[in-house]
């Protein structure tokens, strides 16, 4: 029974185990400053994963997140000059809008979100290539610092990204635990038909979930663009799989209804630690990817709570 009660805490435990594994090998790793900056660097990925969580929470998936972020880096860089801080609004609106499109096609036209979001991602890529004229576009460094400098600075030893991440996490957590939207999404994830039979506007909430996912992907893109003070149609490549992995390792299985944004936070940290461990253990270049795969399997095997999965598909 105790074991049962432990299950929800597996992700934490996994994270601790991994961290201590690295820490034992090289105590340097455990220096607070180091851990903080490690966490700070993973923030854009985390924000994207945060968005994906909503899509996965209702049993869907959002494969457009990466292309979305790509496009947003371009949008942000191109319009920063003309719009100033307003560009942030633009970015988030665009993201949410395209997310809404995914949601609409998924719910109304009944196309699996796997396909819908993949397709919308393609549209984003085209848009990004068109808008950027297929070139890397740069922000004016001074203006960037003026408008968004606060995003990437440090307060003491704490990277400001962490405050942003914490803020978003808090909001998402509140939405998930305390709002009609969050409750509805949980109901949809756990029992869509029952939710429908209770008069919940299922389609509407699903679309909302994808919109949130899109919006957060946009935030991730914006932050990344600021960090790099520039954008390109391919600059956020390599985000998607780690982000999905982060959500899954955190313990939000694709079956929906289980897990949540807090799990994703932990999942993202797990990914960060695994990556860092490559470095600290000095894994040879040719072996890193393989090791990553193996560790990943172990981490997932440890972290997911199977008690709520009826059949493992």
């Amino acid at each position: 029974m105790n074991f049962q009660r432990l299950k929800p805490h597996f992700p934490w435990i996994t994270l601790m185990i991994l961290t201590s594994c690295v820490g034992v090998y090289d105590p340097n790793f455990l220096r607070p400053a180091n851990l903080l900056s490690l966490a700070g660097d993973i923030v854009p990925l985390f924000i994207m994963a945060l968005g994906l969580t909503f899509a996965i929470f209702i049993g869907g998936i959002d494969l457009s997140a990466q292309s979305m972020a790509n496009m947003i880096t371009v949008v942000a860089s191109v319009y920063l000059a003309s719009l100033g801080v307003g560009v942030a609004v633009l970015c988030i609106l665009v993201g949410a809008l395209l997310g809404t499109v995914s949601g609409y096609v998924t719910t109304r036209l009944k196309v699996p979100s796997f396909i819908t979001t993949l397709a919308v991602g393609g549209v984003c890529l085209s848009a990004a290539q068109w808008l950027s004229g297929n070139r890397a576009v740069n922000m004016d460094a001074t203006q960037r610092d003026a408008v968004f400098g606060w995003m990437i600075g440090r307060t003491g030893i704490v990277p400001n990204e962490l405050f942003i991440a914490a803020g978003l996490l808090a909001i998402c957590l509140f939405v998930e635990r305390r709002t009609v939207l969050g409750r509805a999404l949980k109901a949809i994830g756990a029992g869509e038909l029952a939710a429908a039979a209770s008069g919940v506007r299922v389609a509407r909430y699903k679309i909302a979930a994808f919109a949130i996912s899109g919006g957060l992907a946009a935030v991730a893109g914006l932050l990344f663009a600021v960090k790099l003070s520039g954008g390109a149609p391919s600059i956020a490549n390599g985000f998607l799989l780690p982000a999905i992995v982060a959500v899954l390792v955190g313990g939000t299985p694709l079956t929906g209804g289980v897990g949540g944004v807090l799990n994703t936070a932990i999942g993202t940290l797990i990914v960060a630690v695994i990556r860092a461990s490559m470095l600290y253990y000095g894994i040879a270049a040719t072996q890193q990817q393989m090791v990553f795969g193996v560790v990943l399997i172990l981490a997932i095997a440890l972290s997911i709570d199977r008690s709520k999965l009826r059949t493992v598909k």
Binding site: R183, G191, S198
Partner: protein
């Protein structure tokens, strides 16, 4: 020839089976009754090999056996006809019949479909079902599927040398009256081939079919009666430990409804499918029962009232407002509550707590600006848990882990607390034990007192007669007759049946 000797089964916190003795003779039909949680399903799982007993022995033909799983039980001649349809919809009939036993039709790894079809026909003949074995199962009616299930189990007899024991778990739950009689006729004939263990909540059916009846309570067999000795009253007494009096359906609480207030009005409504020209009125405080055979159109009418089906013709009026463009959310907003037959699928959300389930239909009422007032939700839940004496450790209990009866209470509480005054009950007592059933009846009466209009699709005709003010007999999608059913002049079974069949 099949025997359980002092079989014991424990689960964490529960002593599910207390040294149960049980035996079935060749060609015998044994009934198994008991309230939910009495241990019936555990016993069945032990019998067909899904559970292994902690203590005691299983004997077949005098020698002890032990099953690692259903598969092994089957090889020993134990077959199971499941309550939930256990046929795979996207496979053909023959594939379903021989699922897991395709090997016999394989030559060099190749399945010989002709041979399988032939063999399948042989099985289908046993259950007098003349249909192409290559038909996709999803195209069959419930009754047909039930027969295919039976054929599937009967297919065991070619495979094994010993005798067959077939468990029938609530086989009649999805069948209409006439289909039930057909099934029973068939089962009796089949006793030449196999023995049956018949599990049902419908006492009358159990008495009708079984030669001997095992009565279970709290994980133990409290009585074994022969058909001759069997009396519903005494058995129910043994099951519930109290007597079920004449007032089972709370007739004494049935008050006349208010003909002045029409809640729902159907005028010549036709629905997609074969339901047409339905005209009816539901009044405040009225219990309106729809009776008819499976697929006669009762569910369609219910779903139309809840906005899940859009009429192709005619007008629906709900509380004086036109029902055009009605959908589930709008229906709920107008005070319609729907208690679905598929409780686990459409009724409750497993994995969510009791209070989350109760407010699912009325989150607007418990939130301001989209933010939920969880405190109030929990208060509400606690209140209703107490009112309906729902057995849950707290409002935080996962609905998925509650018993059927308590789940049903949660569903009802959801709508009642939301102030729904048009309640659509689709088999509300399906699979409930007597205790829980009585609670449901009480609630229906309470609702009537509060001026709620109830549309009921009952589990049994007795139930329909007992509970209703008005009964509408539906056949082939059309209303055949409307009965007044106020106490005193309630229609008889026979009267109803002649308009249903």
């Amino acid at each position: 020839m099949y025997e359980l000797k002092s079989v014991d089964k424990k689960f964490p916190g529960v002593h599910a089976l207390k040294s149960v003795d049980f035996h079935v003779n060749r060609g015998e039909i044994v009934g198994l009754v008991g309230e939910n949680g009495a241990g019936k399903s555990t016993l069945m799982k032990v019998i067909y090999g899904a559970y292994q007993p902690d203590a005691g022995t299983i004997m077949i033909g005098g020698k002890a056996v032990r099953f690692a799983g259903p598969r092994q039980a089957m090889e020993q001649g134990i077959g199971m006809v499941f309550q939930e349809q256990s046929l795979i919809a996207n496979l053909t009939i023959m594939e379903n019949i021989f699922l897991g036993y395709e090997a016999q039709f394989q030559r060099w790894g190749v399945i010989n479909w002709i041979a399988m079809a032939a063999a399948a026909r042989k099985q289908l003949a046993k259950v007098k079902l003349d249909i192409d074995p290559a038909t996709i199962t999803s195209r069959l009616s419930f009754a047909q599927r039930q027969l295919v299930e039976l054929a599937k189990v009967l297919a065991l007899e070619e495979r094994i040398d010993g005798d067959l024991v077939i468990l029938l778990d609530e086989p009649t739950s999805v069948l209409s009256k006439d289909e039930v009689t057909l099934l029973f006729k068939l089962v009796r004939e089949l006793t030449s081939r196999a023995s049956f263990i018949f599990v049902s909540h419908r006492m009358d059916e159990v008495l009708d079919l079984s030669d001997r009846i095992y009565v279970m309570k709290d994980g133990a067999v409290v009585d074994v009666v022969t058909r001759e000795a069997a009396r519903i009253g005494t058995i129910q007494q043994k099951m519930v430990g109290r007597s079920v009096d004449k007032q089972y359906y709370r007739e004494q609480r049935q008050k006349p409804f208010d003909p002045g207030r029409v809640l729902v009005e159907f005028d010549k409504v036709s629905l997609p499918g074969r339901v047409r020209d339905i005209s009816l009125r539901l009044h405040a405080g009225e219990v309106l029962c729809l009776v008819g055979t499976e697929g006669a159109g009762r569910e369609s009418i219910l779903r139309a009232m809840f906005g899940m089906l859009t009429p192709v013709a005619g007008t629906v009026t709900i509380k004086g407002k036109s029902g055009v463009g009605l959908n589930q959310p709008r229906a709920v907003a107008r005070g319609v509550g729907y208690v679905p037959r598929e409780r686990k699928v459409e009724g409750i959300v497993a994995g969510m707590t009791v209070y989350e389930n109760m407010t699912l239909s009325q989150m607007g009422r418990y939130s301001s600006g989209g933010v939920l007032r969880v405190g109030q939700e929990r208060a509400l839940a606690r209140d209703w848990i107490a009112r309906l004496s729902i057995k849950a450790h707290s409002e935080f209990a996962d609905c998925g882990n509650l018993s059927g009866g308590n789940q049903q209470k949660v569903v009802l509480a959801k709508w009642r607390s939301g102030g729904s005054d048009i309640m659509l009950l689709d088999h509300p007592t399906r699979g409930l034990d007597i205790g829980a059933k009585e609670d449901v009846y009480e609630m229906i009466r309470d609702m009537s007192d509060d001026g709620v209009g109830v549309v009921l699709v009952a589990d049994t005709l007795e139930e329909a007669i007992g509970l209703s003010h008005t009964i509408i007999a539906v056949k082939d999608g059309q209303i055949r007759k409307q009965f007044d059913s106020t106490p005193g002049h309630k229609p008889s079974l026979v009267e109803l049946l002649q308009y249903m069949i």
